[in-house]
């Protein structure tokens, strides 16, 4: 099950897929609201292009909709949809390698002001670190980028990541370590200034 506490008001992804198998478009709407931002963000990071990411996210969810009749409730929905999203992003990247050299520059999204972060100086420092990490993510190789997005942004388990990426658990571990080490190195100056 994808959701720990399913209820009538909060159906699991598998329950929504079952309703979609009966052509329930409202169930599809709930699924979209639940996952579209995560899927879009993942694809945008992998492709580096927002407009292409939007097209691929649309394709990804259309595939989900069209597979509604054959979906097995035993399959972990998030793992499945991120597998589709990853494949679409990689295929698109292969077909536009030259364009990728000219990644569009997008403004860094404004961070939300979460509780306990009212100190403007602290917020400014954290925002600086966020910008550094955001830029460092763009410099990671696709192999490292996808595992760190799935782990540290999507909070997936190593098993789920291994399944999505199609590699052994040990490879997930070593790629994660390499990715995090690169990000930590990118932020070294920021850390030194913090001391």
């Amino acid at each position: 099950m994808d959701d720990p506490t399913p209820s009538l008001d909060n159906p699991t992804d598998a329950q929504l897929m079952q309703r979609m198998a009966n052509d329930d478009v409202r169930a599809f709407d709930v699924l979209l609201t639940r996952h579209q931002t995560a899927v879009f963000h993942f694809i945008r990071r992998l492709t580096g292009n927002a407009s292409q990411a939007e097209d691929l996210t649309q394709e990804c969810f259309l595939r989900v909709w069209r597979a509604r009749g054959s979906y097995l409730p035993t399959a972990m929905f998030r793992t499945w949809i991120f597998t589709i999203a990853r494949r679409l992003a990689l295929d698109a990247a292969k077909s536009r390698r030259v364009e990728i050299l000219f990644l569009e520059e997008e403004p860094f999204p404004a961070a939300s002001n979460s509780a306990g972060e009212s100190d403007p100086h602290h917020m400014a420092e954290r925002r600086e670190l966020a910008c550094i990490l955001d830029a460092a993510l763009d410099r990671l190789s696709p192999d490292l980028l996808e595992v760190i997005l799935l782990r540290d942004v999507e909070q997936m388990s190593y098993d789920q990541i291994a399944s999505i990426v199609g590699c052994p658990l040990g490879t997930v571990k070593s790629r994660l370590n390499a990715a995090r080490t690169q990000l930590r190195s990118a932020a070294r100056n920021w850390f030194e200034a913090e001391r």
């Binding site: 478009v25 579209q36 879009f40 649309q58 909709w65 670190l129 080490t181």
Partner: protein, 145 residues
């Protein structure tokens, strides 16, 4: 980094990420904790890695345009209508015309072929599922005298 413990430090740093995720076996976790207790440099690296991981989890996500949801729902609606649309070809004398009608939702019992043809149809010569049809797009061909 403590030069005497360079090898220890390298081994610990190589596993720090998995350690913070709780993905190491008990004996290796214990060894890393023993090393961290006595190595300030590795503790610093651990703290930095933790901050990086926390910050990544809080990075703002880019949002798709609000139009995406609207487009997808419209696609889904249209596909349902398309899949439930029955296209019949009616042959009356020497002229033919096409008739489209929406088939009820799957929950309702499948109507008998003749009754679903409507009162206009006199004879049903053939019936094909639109999803399986390979030779003609028409689910039914109705011949009228």
């Amino acid at each position: 980094m403590n030069l005497d413990n360079d090898n220890d430090c390298n081994a610990v740093l190589a596993e720090l990420s998995a350690y913070l995720d709780g993905m190491l076996p008990e004996d290796r976790t214990e060894r890393i904790e023993q090393h961290l207790a006595k190595c300030a440099d590795c503790r610093t690296e651990r703290d930095r890695l933790e901050i990086v991981m926390q910050e990544l989890a809080q990075l703002p996500r880019s949002e798709p345009s609000p139009d995406l949801r609207r487009r997808l729902l419209a696609h889904a609606e249209a596909e349902v209508v398309f899949e439930r649309t029955e296209v019949v070809m009616v042959q009356q004398g020497s002229s033919r015309f096409i008739h489209r009608q929406i088939v009820p939702a799957p929950a309702s019992p499948e109507p008998a072929a003749e009754s679903s043809a409507g009162s206009e149809a006199r004879t049903i010569v053939s019936y094909q599922s639109s999803r399986e049809s390979t030779t003609t797009p028409y689910r039914r061909i109705i011949h009228r005298p």
